[in-house]
Subunit: 414 residues, 2 copies
C-alpha cells in the first residue's frame, strides 16, 4: 500500500498574524451572543434594547426620504454637517431643558460613535475612567482598546450613581479622563440620578477638572412627571452630552449627536473625520425633512403612551408572577427594568433554562459588569443574580405571557 | 465715577481640560481646509475627491429605497449584517477578479471606518506602519492616534510602490502592523501597482508575516483595458481588501466593505460593534434592493464612459496649456491626475493665487505627505511643487476652462 506523504520538508511554517496587544484581553460581546439566542424564532424576548418597530414613523419618514431624494441635489454627495439638522437638535435639546447653540452641536453616526470620539479625544492608553459597576456594555467596548484603569462606583437603585465614591476617587488623586454617566433611565438599572447628585457631580467635575460624558439615549422616553434637567443644562464647559435618534425615531438611521464644549469642535472634527469621514448626508437631510413636518411631537406622544402601557403591564405581571423575594426598579423612563433575584440564583444558568423550557429570554446582569474594583470596601453588586428586562419590544400580551412563564420557572428555584 | 469691579478675589481659576496626549500632535486636516476654500461659489474646483453628482443613480436608488421602506419591516430596526448585501459584494468582488465567500465579507460604514477597524485590530500604540510617502490622507488620520512610527516608501510614478524599499524595511527587522497599499488608481498619484510588484509584495507579506491593507475605492472605475487583479486575489490569509460604494454609487450611503482573513471575523465584529454598533440596516437593504434590479452594470458603463471623456479632456488641456516643464501621470482608472511642476513652484502658494486670480482650485501635493523618513538615502518626494487634479467632478467644458486658466497662471512662473 502506498501512502502519499505531503512533502513535509517543503511545508514552510506560516507565520501567525500579530494582532494589537489589547485584543488579547478582548471580550466577546456576551450581550450580542445572548441576543442571538434570544432572537431564535418563537422566543418571547425581553433581552434586546430594541424599540418597537410597529411604532416607527415609517410612512412619514418614507415621505421625507422620497422628498429629499427627489429634490435635494446634495443628498447623495459628500457634504458638511447639515445645518438644518443641527437647528432641529437645538430645539430637541430645549425640550430636554438644555440651552445650546448649533455651534455646540456635533453630528455623529449614532451615540456609540460619539462615545468613541470622546474616548479618542480624552483617554490615553492605560488612562483612568470613572463609571458605574453596572453600565452600558457599549461604553466598556468603546474604551477597551485603551486598556483603561476602571474606577468603578456603585449605583443606588433609587438615587443613582454614588457620587460620594466619585469624590473619593478624585480626592485620592485619581485623574480620570472622564466620568461616564447615564443620568436618565440608566441602562441597565432603569434609575434616574437625582437632582442633588447631579449638582454634586457637576461641582466635582469643575473642581477637579474632569469632564463628564452624559449619555442620554432615553431622555425623551419618559412616562410619568417631566424629567429633571440633564447635567449638560448645569454646565457647558465640562459636559459632553450624547443624544441619539435610535430610540426617538429608528435605530437604522444610525444618527446621533453631541452637545460639547464649543472650543473643542476643531479637534472633534478631525477625530470624526478619521473615523468615518462624515455621517451620511442622506440620513441627515431625510431626518431633518421629517422633523420639518413637525410630526415628532405627536410621534413622541404615541411612543410614550404605548411604552408606558407596556411598562405598567410588566410591573403588574412582575407583582403577580415573580416570587416575593425578588425586587425590581420602577423606572419612570427608558426601556428597562432591573430585577434582583435571591442570591443563590445564577441568572446565566437561568437564561438557558428559560430559553429551553419556557421560550423566554432576558439579559443576565453580569453582561453589564465592569471589571473595576469596589470602592470603600463595599461589596460588588448582586449582578450575578440579577437580570435586565426590556419592555418596549413586546406587546402587552407577550409581556403578560412571558413574565408569567418566567415566574412559573422561578417557583422551582425558591 | 464708580467702576464696577468683578470681584477678582472670588474668581477661581478654572482648570483646563486634559486631552489625550496624541492630540498634541494632531494635525488639522489641511485637505479639508483647502476643500473649504475650493468650494467657494464660482470656483472651478479640481480639488475634492468627489464623484459627479449628476451621474448618481438617484432615481433608481430612490425606487429601491421606497420599496424597502414600504415592504421590509426590518429596514428601520437594529439587525445583523444583511446577507443579501454580502452576496452582492461577493459578485462585485468576482468582477474585480477576486474569489471570496460571503463569510469573508465584512460590512462597514464606509471605507474610512474599515481602515479604523484594521488599525484597531493590528496596530499597537507606537507601532510601525509601512505606507508610501505620498498617500491618502485619511489613512494617515486613521492611524495618527496610535502615534505610529511610519516606515515610508517612495512610489514610482509608472510602476507603483517601491516594493524593494518595503523589503529593505522588513529585512532590517522592522515588524510593521501592516503595509498599506492602493494597488489600483493610487490616491493621489493615479498610478497602478504593476503585476510583478503585486506578486513580490504578497511574497513579502507571507514570508515576514505582515498583513497588507489593500484600499480599492477606485478599482471599478477603469477606463482603458481591464485592470489587473487585486492583491487579495493572490492571497486570502494576509490581505485585508477594502472596498466602497462611495464612488460606485454615492458617498452619502457611507457604505463600504472588507474582504478579510475569515478567522478574524469574530475580532472584527467586536471592534466594529464598539465603533458604531452596526452599519445602517436601511442603507444596507436599500443598496441591496438597488443591486437586485441588475442596473449596476449599465450604471458603471455610463460612469466609465463619462469619466473617461473627462479624463481625456483633461489630458488634452494639460498638453495644450501647461508648460513643457510640467509632467503628469496618465491614470487608466480612478479620479485623479498628479502633476509635477518645476521645483521652484510652491503649490500651496500657487493654490491661493489660483483661487484669487483664476478662480481655480486643486490640492497641493504636500497635503498627502506622510512624516516618515526616506529610505536608502533617496530624496523625499517632489510633493511641494506638485498638485493633484480631480477630473470626475467637473464637466468637460469646466475642465478645459479651468486647466486653461491654470496654464495661463503658470506662464508667469516660468
Amino acid at each position: 500500500m502506498i501512502t502519499l506523504i505531503k512533502e513535509p520538508n517543503h511545508v514552510q511554517e506560516q507565520p501567525t498574524m500579530r494582532l494589537a496587544s489589547w485584543t488579547g484581553v478582548m471580550k466577546r460581546s456576551l450581550l450580542r451572543e445572548m441576543l442571538a439566542v434570544a432572537s431564535r424564532p418563537g422566543i418571547l424576548s425581553f433581552a434586546g434594547g430594541l424599540p418597537a418597530p410597529e411604532l416607527f414613523p415609517a410612512k412619514d419618514y418614507a415621505e421625507a426620504m422620497a422628498y429629499v431624494l427627489e429634490n435635494d441635489a446634495r443628498a447623495l454627495q459628500y457634504g458638511p454637517p447639515f445645518i438644518r439638522l443641527k437647528e432641529h437638535i437645538v430645539e430637541l435639546m430645549a425640550r430636554r431643558g438644555v440651552a445650546c447653540t448649533k455651534d455646540q452641536v456635533f453630528v455623529t453616526t449614532g451615540a456609540q460613535q460619539a462615545l468613541n470620539i470622546v474616548a479618542r479625544l480624552l483617554l490615553n492608553p492605560g488612562g483612568q475612567v470613572i463609571h458605574e459597576q453596572l453600565v452600558y456594555s457599549g461604553l466598556q467596548q468603546a474604551i477597551a482598546p485603551y486598556r483603561p484603569e476602571i474606577l468603578a462606583v456603585p449605583t443606588d437603585l433609587s438615587l443613582g450613581m454614588e457620587v460620594a465614591d466619585v469624590e473619593t476617587h478624585l480626592a485620592n488623586g485619581s485623574q480620570p479622563a472622564f466620568i461616564y454617566a447615564i443620568s436618565e433611565a440608566h441602562n441597565p438599572l432603569g434609575v434616574n440620578l437625582i437632582h442633588e447628585r447631579r449638582q454634586w457631580l457637576i461641582k466635582l467635575a469643575i473642581r477637579y477638572g474632569v469632564p463628564i460624558v452624559e449619555d442620554d439615549p432615553y431622555g425623551f422616553l419618559h412616562y410619568d412627571e417631566e424629567p429633571i434637567r440633564p447635567l449638560r443644562s448645569m454646565d457647558d464647559n465640562w459636559v459632553f452630552y450624547v443624544g441619539s435618534f435610535s430610540k426617538l425615531l429608528a435605530p437604522a438611521l444610525r444618527l446621533g449627536w453631541m452637545v460639547v464644549p464649543e472650543t473643542l469642535i476643531p479637534q472633534l472634527t478631525v477625530i470624526k473625520e478619521a473615523l468615518d469621514l462624515e455621517s451620511s448626508a442622506l440620513i441627515q437631510r431625510s431626518v431633518a425633512a421629517y422633523l420639518d413636518t413637525g410630526r415628532l411631537s405627536s410621534h413622541l406622544q404615541r411612543l410614550r403612551s404605548e411604552y408606558r402601557l407596556r411598562r405598567d403591564v410588566m410591573f403588574t405581571a412582575l407583582e403577580q408572577h415573580f416570587p416575593d423575594s425578588a425586587r425590581w426598579t420602577k423606572p419612570s423612563a427608558g426601556m428597562f427594568i432591573w430585577v434582583e433575584l435571591p442570591a443563590h440564583i445564577d441568572t446565566v444558568e437561568l437564561l438557558w433554562t428559560a430559553v429551553d423550557k419556557a421560550g423566554v429570554a432576558f439579559v443576565p446582569g453580569i453582561a453589564f459588569c465592569a471589571g473595576g474594583s469596589p470602592v470603600n470596601g463595599r461589596p460588588v453588586s448582586t449582578a450575578a443574580s440579577s437580570l435586565r428586562l426590556n419592555f418596549t419590544n413586546s406587546t402587552p400580551e407577550q409581556i403578560e405571557e412571558g413574565i408569567g412563564r418566567l415566574g412559573e420557572l422561578l417557583d422551582h428555584y425558591s
